[in-house]
Symmetry: C2
Subunit: 793 residues, 2 copies
């Protein structure tokens, strides 16, 4: 199987004719979408006014996508297959839309675009047209979980969709352009984590049409033998389909699909029924057809079909250039539309012979509208995991370790349902979530050795040293309706900045589509954060992911900075139940003071931000002299330490402590659904008192959120300012002026009319910073007075 061309096929002439009719129809509809706004069935000669004024869209990949769709249709029908397809070259939107319209799923979702001549005209006109539909496969496209604009993630999405869907076959078309990206190249190894017992199958179709925008592709120019070595090295067995003669390619494609699916069935049967545990070699189809196949061979004397010139719109001057217009008409008529569509513009029966029924249709599978399949996640009562807090700051726990116990229970409670996964780049234990291994192991299909721990063929923790693959797995898993969590070093989540952009855009668009059911949220647990990179240093210090996501749609984005273990539990409980959000939770893994009991934590998280009366020195009735605000675990600790100092040194000063868990609370309520009204904001922060805000990340983010507030002129923010190295925890806060001593100085500098004593106190703070500096240079550790500091109220 691994060496040769697919064997001669058994397609009958009838079957071949029907497949070819379907493919021609899809190609016709793809061309029509790019060019036509009237006369969709060519009932009259083509005239300039039938042509769209702006010609936009990607033709080059479309005939290949249509071919794959046609042949997926065939095998879905023939095998009653439960299939989903991820269209990597999703810029070939015309192809996927054409197929959805042909199979009827499009008109079911969009009754305004019926499967007849009027609908065809709508289908054509709306494509890449203002007020219409995007030119790529997008949330608006039935059957899709994948936007193919930013390339690189199709195979990871496909694998994510296949996890815990044992009956599903996920076909994944990978363009040879996309195949050059790092994330795609790294995703091939996802097959080392695919469990043939509990997971479905992924069938990659590597489509070598030879060119990207302006260049040949790397993989298409490899010698065949070298490409096969590469694919076998990836753990796949290649099946080749090549050619430019449609009938031959149809036969070869049908045969390759059958062989691939037979192989998949055999692998699954061996694992499920015969207990075979070796890692299988899964098939891959290598489809080599011309770019822009069946389009114009030449335009203005330049070769187009089979070259990079076919990438977008092969004939660009159709409205102005009669030769182009004539060429377009000949091109469209080459598909013989009159044979494909009846008088009313409906696809003729022959065209639809290969099309599956009902939910088996690729545009109608509920897996591509995963919220339809979502079940609420069972989350045990938090009381079982909460840490006891008799009074604030009396104890310490590692927040993520406490969360790990909750996650263990979630894993245990979903053991049979298998709809929860934890992903992370080799950091689950490093991030102190290792309790989950009490309930499940780490997915692993390769060899194991005696010294390995927690590796499990059927495990639901996914670890590979690729943030891209972790993200792609989880996106695919969530969009098909399941639940999950991504735990990541805070600095390195930037690796997937661009992927989360696309996911947020997907969710934003989906939320506006009534037919798309809400899906479980994508939740990041960012830990091993900027303040505790004691040994990794500067390269591992970056709190900017929060800034990144807060540029995106407020309907989608949520950011939480729980300051202790119980607040983390409460936040986790909330985010794991949420839908259609991207939640960013930043929490430490180091021992952290327990400030709030579970009930207090719940109340605090429900408010999102609040005054910690017990921490402040403010008189119950009166206004404070200053507000010390904090967001994040380390800033909270430093603020409370600063309050301790102030209470001892300047007992008459009234300081209010405000803690912010839900960062979007700071935004105007017109701009974010969690935003406070000005009255709420003023009630916490005062309209006129100095506010010293200790923030976990880049300080200017707080200004960007709060700049419209009345008291903004009095807001002074401390945070990370890109200053750091390999050093002690307290030295990090000193270097960034977030330490307790600096916060005390900040308050003293801002409260008017303080007693003379304040100057003395201020100097003492300066001295403490100097002493710290000398101490750590000498001893390599923080001064005992800061390292062992404990809160006492």
């Amino acid at each position: 199987m691994s060496d040769g061309e697919a064997a001669p096929t058994t397609l009958s002439a009838e079957e071949l004719d029907a497949l070819h009719a379907h493919w021609r129809a899809a190609n016709y509809l793809a061309v029509g979408q790019i060019y036509l706004m009237r006369n969709p069935l060519l009932r009259e000669p083509l005239r300039p006014e039938h042509i769209k004024p702006r010609l936009l869209g990607h033709w080059g990949t479309s005939p290949g996508l249509n071919l794959v769709h046609t042949h997926l249709n065939r095998v879905i029908r023939a095998r009653d297959l439960n299939a989903l397809c991820v269209w990597g070259p999703g810029h070939g939107g015309p192809a996927v839309l054409a197929n959805s319209w042909l199979e009827g799923s499009y008109s079911e979702v969009y009754p305004g675009v019926p499967r007849d001549g009027s609908g065809m005209e709508r289908l054509f006109r709306q494509f890449s047209f203002p007020g219409g539909v995007p030119s790529h496969v997008a949330p608006e496209t039935p059957g899709s979980i994948h936007e193919g604009g930013e390339l690189g993630y199709s195979l990871a999405h496909a694998h994510g969709a296949a996890l815990d869907n044992p009956d599903l076959v996920v076909a994944c078309v990978i363009g040879d352009g996309e195949a050059e990206t790092g994330p795609l190249a790294g995703s091939w190894h996802a097959n080392k984590f695919l469990d043939p017992v509990h997971d479905g199958a992924v069938l990659p179709v590597l489509h070598l049409n030879g060119y990207k925008i302006a260049n040949p592709t790397v993989l298409s120019r490899l010698p065949r033998e070298e490409l096969d070595e590469l694919l076998r090295g990836y753990g796949h067995d290649p099946l080749h389909v090549s050619g430019d003669d449609p009938a031959e390619v149809h036969r070869a494609m049908a045969a390759a699909m059958d062989r691939a699916l037979d192989r998949i069935a055999a692998v699954q049967s061996a694992a499920r029924e015969h207990g075979v545990t070796g890692r299988p070699r899964w098939p891959v189809i290598v489809l080599r057809t011309p770019k822009g196949w069946t389009g114009p061979a030449e335009v203005d004397g330049q070769p187009v079909e089979g070259t990079w010139r076919a990438h977008q719109v092969p004939l660009s001057g159709v409205r102005e250039n009669p030769r182009h217009l004539a060429q377009l008409e000949a091109w469209l008529r080459s598909y013989r539309p009159e044979e494909l569509f009846d008088d009313l513009g409906r696809p003729r029966p022959r065209v639809l012979e290969c099309v599956p029924e009902g939910k088996r249709r690729l545009g109608a599978t509920p897996h591509a509208n995963g919220g339809l399949l979502t079940r609420d996640l069972p989350i045990a009562p938090l009381e079982r995991f909460a840490v006891p807090v008799e009074k604030p700051g009396a104890g310490r726990h590692e927040p993520t370790q406490v969360l790990g116990e909750l996650l263990e229970q979630v894993m245990a409670d979903t053991a049979a349902r298998r709809d929860f996964r934890l992903v992370g780049p080799d950091e689950t234990a490093s991030n102190r979530l290792q309790a989950v291994y009490g309930a499940t192991g780490k997915a692993w299909q390769e060899r194991t050795l005696g010294t390995d721990e927690h590796l499990d063929r059927h495990g639901r923790v996914m670890e590979i040293l690729s943030e891209h693959l972790c993200q792609g797995w989880l996106e695919g898993y969530l969009l098909t309706g399941r639940h999950g969590l991504f735990s990541c070093y805070e600095a390195f989540v930037h690796i997937v900045d661009s992927m989360v952009n696309q996911h947020i855009k997907w969710l934003k668009t989906s939320r506006a589509l009534p037919w798309r059911a809400p899906v479980p949220s994508l939740t990041y647990l960012l830990t091993s954060h900027v303040w505790r990179q004691d040994h990794n240093g500067f390269s591992h210090q970056d709190p900017g992911f929060v800034d990144h996501v807060l540029n995106k749609s407020p309907d989608v984005v949520r950011v939480y900075l729980p300051p202790d273990a119980n607040t983390l539990l409460s936040v986790a409980d909330h985010v794991l139940r949420s839908r259609d959000h991207v939640n960013v939770v930043v929490a430490g893994k180091q021992p952290t003071f327990d400030w709030l009991s579970l009930d207090q934590a719940r109340a605090h998280c429900a408010r999102g931000a609040g005054i910690w009366d017990w921490a402040g020195t403010q008189d119950e009735a009166g206004d404070p002299d200053a507000v010390l605000a904090c967001a994040g675990d380390v800033p909270t600790q430093e603020v409370l330490a600063a309050v301790s100092l102030l209470r001892a040194e300047l007992p008459d000063l009234a300081v209010r402590v405000v803690n912010v868990v839900d960062l979007a609370r700071l935004m105007p309520h017109e701009e974010h659904p969690h935003g406070m009204t000005d009255a709420e904001y003023d009630a916490l922060f005062t309209p006129d008192k100095p506010v010293v805000f200790a923030y976990h990340g880049y300080p200017w983010l707080i200004h960007r959120l709060a700049y419209r507030r009345t008291g903004h002129g009095n807001l002074h923010v401390r945070g990370y300012k890109e200053t750091g190295t390999t050093t002690t925890p307290f030295d990090m806060v000193v270097r960034n002026d977030l330490d307790r001593y600096r916060l005390v100085m900040d308050v003293i500098d801002r409260v008017p009319g303080l007693a003379v004593k304040a100057a003395v106190v201020r100097q003492r703070m300066e001295d403490a910073r100097t002493r710290h500096h000398a101490y750590i240079r000498e001893h390599g550790t923080d001064m005992p007075e800061v390292a062992d500091w404990a809160w006492t109220d």
Copy 2:
């Protein structure tokens, strides 16, 4: 060559002994750095007070790195090789530091750490110690161009360093953890772009020590045959070195190095002397040795050597646990330090036998301090490329196309020097820089076909559909002292967010090291930007990279938004000459009004922001009623269109136009070297008049930059607010409230005491927006009055 183990070696017993001594010494020094702060030579029994209070560092990878370094030393000496090494597992800092100290390069750069016992104590103590050196390979490390903290980029950096360095051999150690990342997996195909004539060689050493933090690695558990297929599929011929017996491994490693270098020499000779043009198969060494080799086999009854437990600090309780202390002492003494170092702590001659001399030492090669080799880039007078501007707005040009002509000349003028490269993900022509093909082609070593254009075995344009590889190539090229430019779709540069973080951190740290010579800046040309994604739509709309980089060190980061062709030329001239910066230039590729002549552009760019008197309606003497500010090409066009409307409709209103090219000018001058003083800011924006600011990107960025300014309360910013789809250019600005009509309304809403007529004008603007909406829905194009708008003063 591709199949077998390396052949039996010819190392003499003497040579073997010397290599082994060097390796033992390096291992000893690596362990010493992790553990010791006193008693470096073990002249007295080890006691707790000799041990550092915080044990930080990565031991697991260190013996492997030491082995590679020892054997690179041997071949450098034996062949007088010009070599550089990229240490992918750069968290193994102790190893690279140990080798630099042994070869003397460390003490030359840091005379305070001499190559004797006192220096050894400093070397040990400073490692991962406050005020000392980071635990990873970092800018502080002599011989390095690569921080190994965030994994994935070693092979791309190595290739970038090799480009246009025909005599250089760049060894590249790739950890099997890093090998799982997408960027690394994609980088293997860099060999399809390496010119054996003009470029040097890259020798990857894939180090399979079997484990990452807590897991086995994917590649180490592949069957040998499958791994070989993978590597051959990548275009490499594998040479295997495996074992845990040092002598055997030394012999095998020496033989493999010799075979690899012989092969490289043969490839280069064939291409250079015999005109062979086929793509060569380059060697790769697969080194399989135990993680934490020579360290403790077991600790507390758990296996450590050869497992993931050896990743960081194998013995964690040395100060408190006498058993651990004894085990550490035995471990250190197992290297027989007394044989390795003399009474004064200096390495004995036998240890140094393999060490090369002078600049051949890996810690002393000028290629790793590339600024030493940098020559100023020849940039022809801009007059040759500038577009004529007799009066503002009379003509239009495509700014990036104009820039392309300048770049063509740079390419031509560096044809012999070969120290300028243009990189981009298959977008050079799409971004309208195709003029460069007049001077050079696209690097390509694979097969070519008759329809290909501009492919060139010796070309200096690098195109692959991988932003990661483009970025990595360019970083490697710049850090070795050459020049370049990265042209990228604006939205997708987020793909390398995390890489640019690391590069900025590298530059920030380097700037503080007097011995590091400044290197040419990393410059991004971001085009195909958010406002002109007419057919790609929402997924391609993201202006947030500017926000991302502006969180980073102000010493390094520069952001420019030239509004027309001549300002783009002037900005390009500046950034291409700059050093140690990351420059982000955002410029359109669509026809754009020419506002400024070259001289005006130069003056404007020198100021970075200025009043455009000719555009405003303000009386020369008086204060304006309002300021209309703009940054970016599309916002500038809309602001000038708004001024046109205001001039016609409300001729008595005095409006000042301010254009900002250099975004950091808005920041306080205490925070960014380009920041304006408050007086400068007020002179442009006024302290008290309404300012309507049309900005290219997310509007809150402007607030984040300007929140401290006196007039900030009057600042109203329009920009992209994550609203977009496939639509017309003007519809995009309307959807985001950046259009001329909205800007006029914004002014009217903010200027107090306007005549009654203003309300009528305001309504007319509303009507125009409504009319636009209806028009584009009907016609699919912008209304003629906006599409054909021309500036007339």
